[in-house]
């Protein structure tokens, strides 16, 4: 096994390996979506974020426009404080609503933005005022049962 043959095969091997990495990065992963673009950060408060996680997508009209950057708990107002990185490409009015939605029935949760009508746009550091918390299953069930109980009581009246 002489030198040049070894060099050739090692070269082939390294090329193949890097190619595999490239394949994984481009075709398999989500390179090109949000890792290189400029973003601006806005905040939002929620009474309950449900199962929202950091790096969850932020979608508007179903299109991904940003990612959740940070989730904290505000000990004074006892609310969740969510920091969102929005793609600098997209502008949203100041009265945009941020809702926590679930993709599919068993899917993961994301933030959906519904644009308002204000002329002034959100910029970095602003806060989204209108928010809707995640649907908590237990509350939903107890509400359902309460309604059911109220319904059955009425005829008896």
């Amino acid at each position: 096994m002489n030198r040049s043959t070894i060099d050739l095969w090692v070269g082939v091997f390294v090329v193949l390996g890097l190619g595999a990495l490239l394949f994984l990065a481009l075709k398999v992963g989500n390179l090109g979506s949000f890792n290189t673009n400029e973003t601006y950060q806005v905040q939002a408060r929620f009474a309950n974020i449900g199962g929202l996680k950091v790096r969850a997508p932020i979608k508007s009209a179903g299109v991904v426009v940003g990612r959740v950057a940070d989730i904290r708990f505000d000990n004074e107002s006892y609310e969740a404080l969510v920091s969102m990185n929005l793609d600098a490409f997209y502008q949203f009015p100041r009265d945009t609503t941020a809702k926590i939605l679930t993709s599919g029935i068993l899917g993961e949760q994301y933030i959906g933005l519904e644009a308002g009508g204000d002329g002034v746009m959100l910029k970095g550091g602003d806060r989204v005022r209108l928010t809707q918390s995640a649907v908590v299953l237990e509350n939903l069930i107890s509400q359902f049962l309460f309604n059911k109980a109220a319904e059955t009581k009425e005829p008896a009246k």
Binding site: R3, V10, F13, V14, L16, L21, L24, K27, I71
Partner: protein, 272 residues
């Protein structure tokens, strides 16, 4: 009389266990010093890169076949098994996600690491051990050539460079295998397969973490291989035992490190 004997027996056992533990701890310290020395004296391996390239050939290129074939089969099996379960929840379009995440996060680095340990790791140990047994290491020392710089370091760096590439190839091959079975064989929609995968697999979180894992495994496995070879008793039996130890210790190390790294990367880091 019986109680006395029992007590002696028990004490002897405990002493032996204590000895084993202390000697293993001592050995770990010795191995760490060895690694440090190795890294400090890697100048030759890096300056005369031809030496390292030869080792990349022996550890990487010659492992290609087993890695590619295993990757293909693992991917195909993942698709088969995964489809059965996903279909029950009507989530069969997420097959791509299942295959890709399993491979990139876990199976790629771990299985490739295990295969690497048993193929290349044992070969390295046997080679160095036999060089020691046939006095080639002593001959080198007598010729005023540092055997660790000349023989051990190139093998170490060769392994460390090969391992991440092999893991990436394993994952890529596995995804391809999953595609073959999922889309071509079973009939999952190709578009859904790839698009859901791309949406779910994150470059930084999943792929990069997988690469980090494979680098860590590469360092661990190659370190164990060269150390066991260098520390082997220079007889036929000694070398064979060292080779066995390499495979066993490397495999355990991979699995243990995998747990630690997974805990660090995929759960702790993502805490709300």
């Amino acid at each position: 009389m019986q109680l006395e004997q029992l007590r002696e027996h028990a004490r002897g056992r405990l002493e032996r266990i204590g000895n084993v533990v202390t000697s293993q701890v001592w050995r770990l310290g010795f191995a760490s010093r060895f690694l440090f020395y190795l890294v400090m004296h890697s100048g030759t391996a890096l300056r005369r890169f031809g030496l390292t390239m030869k080792e990349i050939y022996f550890t990487g290129v010659l492992s290609l076949i087993i890695i590619l074939v295993s990757g293909l089969f693992v991917g195909m099996v993942l698709a088969l098994q995964g489809y059965e379960t996903l279909q029950r929840f009507g989530a069969s379009e997420s097959l791509g996600v299942l295959v890709a995440l399993s491979l990139v996060r876990e199976l790629g680095p771990v299985v490739a690491g295990l295969l690497f340990a048993s193929r290349a790791g044992s070969a390295i140990t046997a080679e160095i051990g036999l060089m020691k047994a046939t006095e080639q290491i002593s001959a080198m020392e007598m010729m005023a050539v540092d055997p660790i710089a000349r023989v051990v370091a190139p093998r170490f760096w060769g392994g460390v460079i090969s391992m991440p590439l092999l893991a990436a190839l394993f994952s890529a091959m596995g995804i391809f295998g999953g595609y073959l079975v999922g889309v071509q064989l079973i009939g999952v929609d190709a578009g859904a397969f790839w698009s859901q995968m791309q949406a779910a697999v994150d470059l930084r979180n999943d792929i990069l973490n997988g690469v980090i894992k494979s680098v860590v495994f590469g360092v661990a496995v190659t370190w164990i291989s060269v150390f066991e070879g260098y520390d082997a008793i220079p007889t036929a039996e000694g070398v064979s035992r060292a080779t066995t130890r390499t495979v066993v210790t490397s495999s355990l190390a991979i699995l243990a490190l995998d747990f630690v790294l997974t805990a660090l990367m995929f759960t702790g880091g993502n805490n709300q």
